[in-house]
Subunit: 543 residues, 2 copies
């Protein structure tokens, strides 16, 4: 029943993506940097993978044998390279940690082949007090993949990419059942062969897995048309330390609370998603790209709000602020070149030709009446071409000694300006406190009838003799930003997730009651607390 | 800050709606009945409210005084009429129970005025082992309002209709904050004054409360355009026996699992929803009605599927099967008159004139290509006029000795035919086993990209010397139908909910794992189990 699958590409161990595609900074960006940040000191070269030192695996020979009995000897790895490659995600913090000689790593990487093996591994781990960090594409940017042991004597990374494949496609209902370790591109390839598309394109698309999208409540760039990933999931199969759970299935239901939702956003603390049923649609027959310019961000925000509230139907709609527009950040291949005035926006429309055309016409009417001016197809086409390129640029900036990170939140339309201003000012002040120049850029990345997501890109000239100095400075800045977000009615994350980095702020956002609910579920499903300890819920009380 | 509110109308104690609007059977229906059901025996007249006997209240004088200290003496009622009026919902089972002289009733009806009073009442109830049944509009049709004590020494109905009013309207974001006891019409009146609409119109609309819509995961007739009620809720405030919980707020978030969802569909077993923030929209400037006919149900289903999957944007889209079309059930004022061929459908489009027109044009193109023929505006206008009338017809049928009930489910498009056939056959066979003739009618009431809801209306000539005989027969039929639904990949309820009637089947649908999750949440929030015992979760194990 499983369709054949291609293996996921291996990412650069200490940076983003395909090592062959890593590039030095574009000349235009190099020319810009001194103007924006002043003189930047290029750090020492990063450490080689073979020179990294990690502690010996804490697993006993008996642990290894017991794990191998489940998944096969070839699928329990304790070699340094495999362990280092599963030592975390791809936040700037992660990447800077990987420049050091001494690093943390899981005690082993275990790669089960299917649901039953996942279940057997985590039940064994619970019995032996071994923590388990579920590992999909390795693209977390919030510390969800740190090899944290909690109270346990060892920790394994559970690499889920052998659970790959399309199990069933219901072409009539538009539903596809996948193994959860299937990557974004592999899922789209398997669907496209049958004329279908999932249409979920977050920045992590090329590496992340479907299970990861679900566990982290991902939201793709096409969310205006296709919805957030959590709205695409119609059923789930989950392995927990206390057994299997299968939930969902009806297109709509009033059969009690939607318990399936407790696994969407659970980031591995309740169990491991092994299979998903997802809403899919026919490959769009046509696609219309259209760029826009607005005199200023406030005018653009109001225009996007009208589109979202009237429901005119773009698949993609995004708006860059003045700073981001000035740098041309949204058109990745042309960064530093397109110093246009005002704010640029991108729209894409999809569907049957007459449907896409009707959506474009309605949207154009609304955006024009709201003060926008069409800039033709090319800015939107350029955006689409470069949409997965930004992380390579970050790697190059870090190599040049420029601190670069992104963060994001969401709020209701009436509060967008207040939240954006507060976050921007906190960032600027934070860098200034460390005598660092900075550039803060922002765009609206996702829209809803009631509000939108704000996505910030920050570059700054944080100085330090070692990565740890720079990270300590960023930590104080980020903490202040997180406080600012919650004080200004934002959510701690719109789509990056919580992981360990945001866990203390999640507790504030959901309150004592929310924490109690989450802990009650965790205690029921994972009574020994082996599943991804420290993610979502900060370390439990001593004892 | 609260806008003034009008009190909710009092419903007929032993039937639906406004007693002044109760009508005898239309002549056309009376003429039809013998053809369909044969000879029907009209039962004895129903008992008068003043002749109903209930047990004396189990509350002590001290209980009463303690409750009165919180809500005021006028808001603790132990008189028979008030208790009887809060003794259950409005299912056919409920209404037939109310024809008997001896009835169950809660020991008191307590009417708190706001969140703090609700919290104080349920904390007191937890301390004194008094069960609490939250009571909104009293429109449950699944036994969610039965005065069940569980292990406790008494039970009170917590009437929430004094928590009425619009607390805040954010016109920019399109969000309204309401007290949870506000009824549907009152909410729409308060919003319309400001040019806004919630647009949630379930059959219970005229009486049900916003908190009830949320607690039962209601789905309105306009759900194709406005979404299910659970998608309209953006934030909640809840009183639980262990304190207040406030969740939600962001238009989209990845801040852990969506814990707020655990209260949507919780039917009062975790706590009482006291305030809600809801997505609202500007009152539609235009509305286009259009009726359709299809040669048969399968053709109509395929046409509706295409509309839902292409996203052409109707606010309402419904399709009656041949039996329902033949009776004209969808056009309430014309029942029994419109014996048209094939299957009729109804569409309504809303929005700004150009938006509504574009949606209508796209939908017409798809429905026509799929084999539909427009029947003009009037069938859809007739449907809209009569949309809240059906429950009055049921009352009249019951008075005439005709058993009449509705039930509903949902499934994916590919499974619609199998599920509809299985449920229809089980119903027919069930009535036949009791030597009863029956008529089973069905319509598609709600559509989604991946599937649809099937709504069944059944009339049958169940015979018995007492109501309890008839109900015992229906109980065996309904049990078989519930089994059939789950065996054929349907959900136990698409929008009526679970209550006590569906609780055993909910356990099958969500499995042991789902039940464990729900119990873990209940144990955490309501450790003494006072909240609506027996709803959702069948009675806990003895001990």
């Amino acid at each position: 029943m499983t369709t054949e699958t291609t293996p996921a590409a291996t990412m650069r161990w200490n940076g983003w993506g395909d090592p062959a595609l890593a590039k030095d900074l574009p000349l235009a960006v190099r020319a810009l940097l001194p103007t924006v940040l002043g003189k930047v000191h290029r750090p020492d070269a990063a450490v080689d993978l073979s020179d990294v030192r990690i502690a010996a695996s804490a697993l006993t020979a008996d642990d290894r044998a017991a794990l191998a009995a489940i998944v096969g000897d070839a699928h329990v790895s304790t070699d340094n390279e495999t362990r280092i490659r599963h030592a975390g995600g791809r936040s700037t913090i992660d990447l800077m940690h990987r420049r050091a000689t001494d690093q943390d790593a899981p005690d082993a990487v275990v790669s089960p082949a299917g649901h039953d093996e996942v279940l057997a591994v985590i039940m064994l781990a619970a019995e032996r007090s071994i923590a388990v960090v579920p590992f999909g594409g390795g693209t977390s940017v919030v510390g969800a993949l740190d090899p944290e042991r909690g109270d346990h004597r060892a920790v394994i990374a559970l690499d889920l990419r052998r659970l790959s494949g399309l199990l069933h496609l219901d072409e009539v209902s538009g539903e596809a059942r996948f193994l959860a370790g299937t990557t974004g591109p592999e899922a789209e390839r398997l669907l496209a062969e049958r004329g279908f598309e999932l249409g979920h394109y977050p920045q992590s698309f090329l590496y992340a897995t479907l299970g990861g999208f679900a566990a982290a409540r991902s939201s793709g760039q096409n969310s205006a048309g296709n919805g957030r990933f959590d709205t695409m999931v119609t059923a789930l199969r989950v392995a927990t330390p206390t057994g299997e759970i299968a939930l969902g299935g009806a297109p709509g239901t009033a059969a009690g609370p939607d318990l399936m939702r407790m696994f969407l956003g659970s980031e591995g603390i309740l169990g491991v998603i092994t299979e998903l049923r997802l809403r899919v649609h026919r490959l769009p027959e046509s696609r219309i790209h259209q760029g826009w310019t607005f005199p200023d961000f406030a005018t653009g925000v109001d225009a996007l709000r009208q589109v979202a509230q009237l429901g005119t139907g773009p698949t993609v709609i995004r708006l860059s602020d003045e700073a981001e527009t000035g740098i041309g950040l949204a058109q990745h291949g042309k960064i530093g070149k397109a110093l246009s005035k005002g704010c640029s926006a991108v729209t894409v429309f999809e569907g049957r030709p007459e449907v896409a055309a009707a959506r474009q016409a309605l949207t154009e009417r609304v955006l024009t009446a709201a003060g926008g001016r069409s800039s033709g197809a090319s800015p939107a086409e350029d955006w689409a071409k470069g949409r997965f390129g930004a992380p390579y640029l970050r790697d190059a900036l870090i190599d040049h000694g420029v601190f670069c990170e992104t963060l994001e939140t969401a709020t209701v339309w009436a509060n967008i300006d207040r939240l954006k201003t507060a976050v921007t000012e906190t960032l600027r002040a934070g860098f200034a406190d460390h005598d660092a120049k900075s550039l803060v850029m922002c765009h609206i990345s996702h829209v809803y009838p009631t509000g939108a997501a704000l996505y910030f890109t920050i570059i700054g000239n944080l100085k330090g003799t070692e990565e740890s100095d720079v990270l300590a400075q960023w930590d104080t800045i980020k903490s202040r930003v997180n406080d600012t977000i919650l004080e200004n009615a934002g959510t701690i994350s719109h789509h990056h997730g919580v992981g360990r980095d945001h866990a203390p702020w999640l507790a504030t956002e959901i309150g004592d009651g929310g924490v109690r609910m989450l802990r009650a579920l965790k205690t029921e499903l994972d009574p020994t607390g082996i599943m991804n300890p420290g993610a979502l819920l900060a370390a439990p009380q001593a004892g």
